[in-house]
């Protein structure tokens, strides 16, 4: 019998809401954070829409010493971690340093910071490059900075598996807790809405080039033609269920099952779902809602829809994609979906999938533009990463 691992804190930074309260009050009513890209002049680029986080002033949340050494993604990560710890009622200074770990996922590291420093390098010379570039660019930087800020010296790391990373990091945190670490800060935030990041994102060939935010990211719709990138994500506080109960913590729910597969001759998504359900000791009929990967790329939508019909039957389970309100946040997306699943179970409300008019032939019971009240005990969160990563996580209230 392996120890049950539960979530006791959430920290959310999303394009449609900063902080759990703002995010959930926007998400439950279908308020989208997708709009024209404003961080730089996007006119010369095919894709012009993004899910930007507005109103985030790092100076209001972080000490001066951290500002010259951090990219936007690290600032968001640090603040999300602070909020998650506060939400869990945990003061890291009161706990033994080696009993706390940090495991995040990242798709790009600190891109905007790097863009600035590379610009200095090539326009002015190496002596103009910040010493902090040495780590500010790095995939592991969010983990490192959260660890340093909170004095967490237990098992830590970073996972780089694109979108799937948001789940893979939480799964790795669960492993470490089962091995004896008391508490792990886990999840992912991604942010690369700078012109260099934008060029990189275009190479996937999967960005929507639509101008209308209401028609840009339409998973499972006949008009699906790519996604809108966004920034943000979520960090979660994971603890052993016994320990959480002993300290009287409020518990959002349990990380009940997980599996990861890689595409081979056949897509690996179905296997990931089946293995995650087995890990949770649950049957498909136990799942009350699925948070879809929702690529909005016709072939990937077809694979996901067929998989869900194979596992759950024709219109066999409610499916939703609240990321239609934020854009795809890469590793941040799956972590945010996990957090959203806990909020949905807490309220008994499946958040909407906005803008999409689902194609009948997919056979999905896609929750539309209105949220759907439902008794939710168990949710399945799916995430696929570019290149063939599939991850599935089952959570239980």
């Amino acid at each position: 019998m392996t120890a049950s691992v539960v979530v006791t804190g959430l920290g959310i930074t999303a394009p449609n809401g900063l902080g759990t309260k703002d995010y959930w009050s926007a998400t439950r009513v279908g308020k989208s954070g997708i709009g024209p890209l404003t961080r730089f002049d996007a006119a010369p680029y095919p894709a012009k829409l993004a899910g930007e986080i507005d109103g985030f002033t790092a100076e209001e949340h972080l000490p001066s010493r951290l500002l010259p050494q951090t990219d936007q993604v690290t600032r968001l990560s640090l603040v999300a971690a602070d909020w998650a710890l506060a939400d869990a009622g945990v003061r890291p200074a009161d706990l033994p340093a080696f009993d706390m770990g940090v495991i995040t996922a990242s798709s790009a590291g600190g891109f905007e910071f790097s863009q600035h420093e590379l610009k200095s390098l090539w326009s002015k010379g190496g002596e103009y490059v910040s010493a902090y570039q040495s780590f500010a660019w790095f995939y592991a930087v969010n983990t490192g900075q959260i660890s340093i800020r909170n004095g967490m010296k237990g098992p830590s790391g970073v996972v780089v598996t694109d979108q799937a990373g948001g789940l893979d990091a939480v799964a790795q945190a669960r492993r470490q807790i089962r091995k004896g670490t008391s508490l792990v800060v886990a999840g992912a935030v991604d942010a690369l809405l700078c012109s260099w990041g934008w060029v990189g994102l275009h190479t996937s060939g999967r960005l929507s080039t639509a101008d209308d935010p209401g028609r840009a990211y339409l998973p499972f719709d006949e008009r699906a033609a790519g996604h809108v990138p966004g920034e943000g994500g979520a960090l979660l506080i994971l603890e052993a269920a016994d320990a959480a109960r002993a300290r009287g913590a409020r518990v959002y729910g349990e990380i009940a099952g997980y599996a990861a597969t890689f595409d081979g001759r056949e897509p690996g998504l179905r296997k990931a779902i089946e293995l995650a359900l087995t890990d949770a000791d649950l049957a498909p009929s136990d799942v009350d809602v699925v948070f879809a990967d929702a690529a909005a790329e016709p072939e990937l939508d077809r694979i996901e829809a067929e998989t869900l019909v194979e596992v759950f039957g024709h219109r066999g389970v409610p499916v939703t994609a609240p990321k239609t309100m934020t854009g795809r946040l890469y590793a941040g997306a799956a972590a945010l979906d996990l957090a959203t699943a806990f909020l949905a179970m807490g309220e008994g409300l499946i958040p909407p999938t906005v803008h999409t008019d689902p194609a009948d032939h997919y056979g999905l019971d896609l929750v539309g533009t209105e949220a759907r009240p439902a008794e939710l005990r168990t949710a399945l969160v799916l995430a696929r990463g570019h290149g063939g990563f599939n991850s599935a996580m089952v959570v239980r209230s």
Partner: protein
């Protein structure tokens, strides 16, 4: 031409520009105390000093030995090391 100088105020300005203000106001105390406080106690690590040295080199057009960063563990030692380079510039 006046001799270029490098003072505690110059060091503070460059530390703040490049690495931000330490928590706890470690730079704000009495100048004589600050001069002899270890950088690590003020709230600056080796990377902050590397960044500071790099900015000083750019601003003053000098080359600081790498040993300055490792050996000068207080503002006084750092200022003295920079001062040595200012009075004996590379020709």
């Amino acid at each position: 031409m006046s001799q270029p100088t490098f003072t505690l105020d110059d060091l503070k300005r460059i530390l703040l520009e490049g690495s931000g203000a330490p928590e706890g106001g470690g730079l704000d105390g009495d100048a004589q105390d600050v001069l002899d406080t270890e950088f690590s106690d003020i709230g600056y690590d080796s990377l902050a000093l590397l960044e500071t040295a790099s900015r000083i080199e750019r601003e003053y057009g000098i080359d600081l030995d790498e040993s300055v960063i490792g050996d000068a563990t207080t503002p006084r030692a750092f200022i003295d090391a920079v001062g040595d380079h200012l009075v004996a510039p590379a020709a």
